[in-house]
Symmetry: C2
Subunit: 456 residues, 2 copies
Amino acid sequence: MFAKIKPLYEKLGNLSGIQLIVLFYLSAAIFSTVLLRMPFFHQEGMHVSWLDSFFTAVSAISVTGLTVFSTADTFNYAGYIALAFVLQFGGIGIMTLGTFVYILLGKKVGFRTRQLIQIDQNRNTLAGLVKLMVRILRTVLVIEFIGGIVLAIYFLSYFDSWQEAFMQGFFASISATTNAGFDITGASLVPFADDYYVQFINMLLLILGAIGFPVLLEVQELLWGRYKNLEWKYQFSLYTKVTTITFFILIIVGALGIYMFEYHHFLQGKAWHESLFYSLFQSVTTRNGGLATMDVSEFSTPTLLLLCALMFIGASPSSVGGGIRTTTFAIMMLAIFHYAKGHDTIKVFRREVDPDDVSRSFIVATTALMLCGGAITLLIWIEPLNNMALVFEAFSAFGTTGLSMGITPDLSIAGKLIIIVLMFIGRIGIFSFLFLLRGQDVKDRYHYPKEKMIIG
Amino acid sequence: MFAKIKPLYEKLGNLSGIQLIVLFYLSAAIFSTVLLRMPFFHQEGMHVSWLDSFFTAVSAISVTGLTVFSTADTFNYAGYIALAFVLQFGGIGIMTLGTFVYILLGKKVGFRTRQLIQIDQNRNTLAGLVKLMVRILRTVLVIEFIGGIVLAIYFLSYFDSWQEAFMQGFFASISATTNAGFDITGASLVPFADDYYVQFINMLLLILGAIGFPVLLEVQELLWGRYKNLEWKYQFSLYTKVTTITFFILIIVGALGIYMFEYHHFLQGKAWHESLFYSLFQSVTTRNGGLATMDVSEFSTPTLLLLCALMFIGASPSSVGGGIRTTTFAIMMLAIFHYAKGHDTIKVFRREVDPDDVSRSFIVATTALMLCGGAITLLIWIEPLNNMALVFEAFSAFGTTGLSMGITPDLSIAGKLIIIVLMFIGRIGIFSFLFLLRGQDVKDRYHYPKEKMIIG
Ligand SMILES: [K+]
Ligand SMILES: [K+]
């Protein structure tokens, strides 16, 4: 038996880290497809096709939240729990869980595994990475547990039984923290459109999930240090500063944009606090929970385009979210600004941005946009559905946001496959997508003379 | 009197080259506004508002070709000639004409003027630039003259008088060579939808105008060298190779795309040669003449999106066209491809692309896209018109292409102003637009430590 396993193992060893990650995600998606199609998890009389099960599995593993059928009406309690596990698995990242399993089994985590983790979370230092992974998992579980308890207790007055309240509370907490956007209410957070408490808790969980693990860990370190030594001065990393500021600027810009565009439309005649919460929640959800307190197809086209842009940018890296990521966007904006000002280096917070990071950012964003543009053109070509709804669907899938104007179940087989591919690439990241084709880094050993060209 | 002029002159001297170019273009636009509004140039009973005249002037100076009124029905013969002069002025570039005037007046062309020309045409060597400019002008005039004669003689059978035939022929030749896209037929090239000879001549002129002056000059050098010495080996520049190949790839991809998307729509039931010419001509025209042999609003949405992308890319640099330019697009594609393959330098035709050019390309494209995206969102917000038509209009204006789904005259004042800004930025180039704010190149004298971030 070992004779057969060894060659496979060696073959795996030859694959690049990123190819292995893709393989892992694919396996997880296929496993989830089979799992979620088991009639044991369905309500009576419900039948789920293989394609729809695969769609749901990829949507869950990529924590997108797009659905081709009603989660609430199709799955039973056992199904909700199974789905929650898939979300957890996808959201925290297969690599994190993988490491955890390794440690649980008492195995020493090898260099190759740590290298895998590094690529998935894009960390540049290998040191202490294993410890880091454990802390990530612990942090997320603590957040989910507290969120679940807080929501469940509050839900006791909403639902008939405490079982239902706890199921709804914990599912909502997991769905929000992993930014999965799945719901078992049957209508996202629309039933809580006037319940600011539930919305506030959900926004908090969405933000904690999407702001990026490194940020959470640095804040933890800061608080822990302060607790032990009041004089302690903590230096946040450049990454944490840039990503967090970008994250909140995007939320504010999004909320203001929605407020402005919808002032004479959806928000017409609503009280200021209603307008505030509608604008704020729908802005936060593009960063990238995908829960909604309203039917987004009620928004006017300018708002929908704004949401598309926000979903495309997506969450912070090393978080549960997708999109091109906040850092990518921030670096591009900084590069354009500094270039226009005539500087030849990008300075921010008394640090310089690495030129490699600048080119990587632009490459990621450009590839992502061409991918979305191509997908949108194809979708409009083959689907007899509303064009804006298709544009919105594509950006939502790539950003793994999961907001929808309601056309997901109406997609053709080809349309569903396109959305599946977008969700998958959105989850593994453009970066990994680009690297898929290549095996090893190629160091250029020879050089040609440089020749300048005329641009723009 | 000199006492007053000198400070102004000194002030001009302090402006950066690009600011001066913008100033020149603005002055030219204002001058043309006044010129084209003179009743002397209008047919009887026609009244043109200041805004519409300004719109037409910017459209002509930027050789875009978008029109808020029928050129054929508004202007008289004198008006056509005046418009042709404005097109000529805009198309060849104010700098080229400026140099020419300098030489005609017997003045020595100073370093500053040559520097201006260098920026406008994006040439990297100052040497021989003045000679180059003269050759550019000569080349364009020769092309226009031959095109005009060929078309005028052919038009003798189309039109009642030889005056009309020659007016139509020369206006068409100037409009095509400068890629202006204005027409005095009243319906672009639709009357010639089944006349492949006229279409072929027009495509040839469009390509010669949009392929970039340096390419034409290098081809001229090659032919001249061959004529003098049969053994002569000529080495095309990297720029010429890259831009020309990209140029023709875009035309082929565009034609194939149109053919594919329209096979069951507009091209349904048409003969193969009709389909070929419809696809080919509409592909060439996005590169960026703006003439059309059909009403583009008859195209289906996927085709319109494809045309938007092609118009956004636009013509080759140092040509009469706009957009982000073919080289910008080519360098981005090369960068993505080489990056995915794991190379750290971009090698093409046994040369290496300058890393500065790579970042410049991405910065140009990203800024342009955000500009168009913002403009489109605003247009959709304020205009009660078809969304796809507004998207198309914005990309057409930025690419200075001039194709339209027919909504230009229906735009509100704000909408017209947005399109004017897009045409203007499209003409001066994103590059100049970004530099507008700054005075001098800032050399960074101090450095901070570099810190890597997590991306995408
Ligand atoms: K999501
Ligand atoms: K044009």
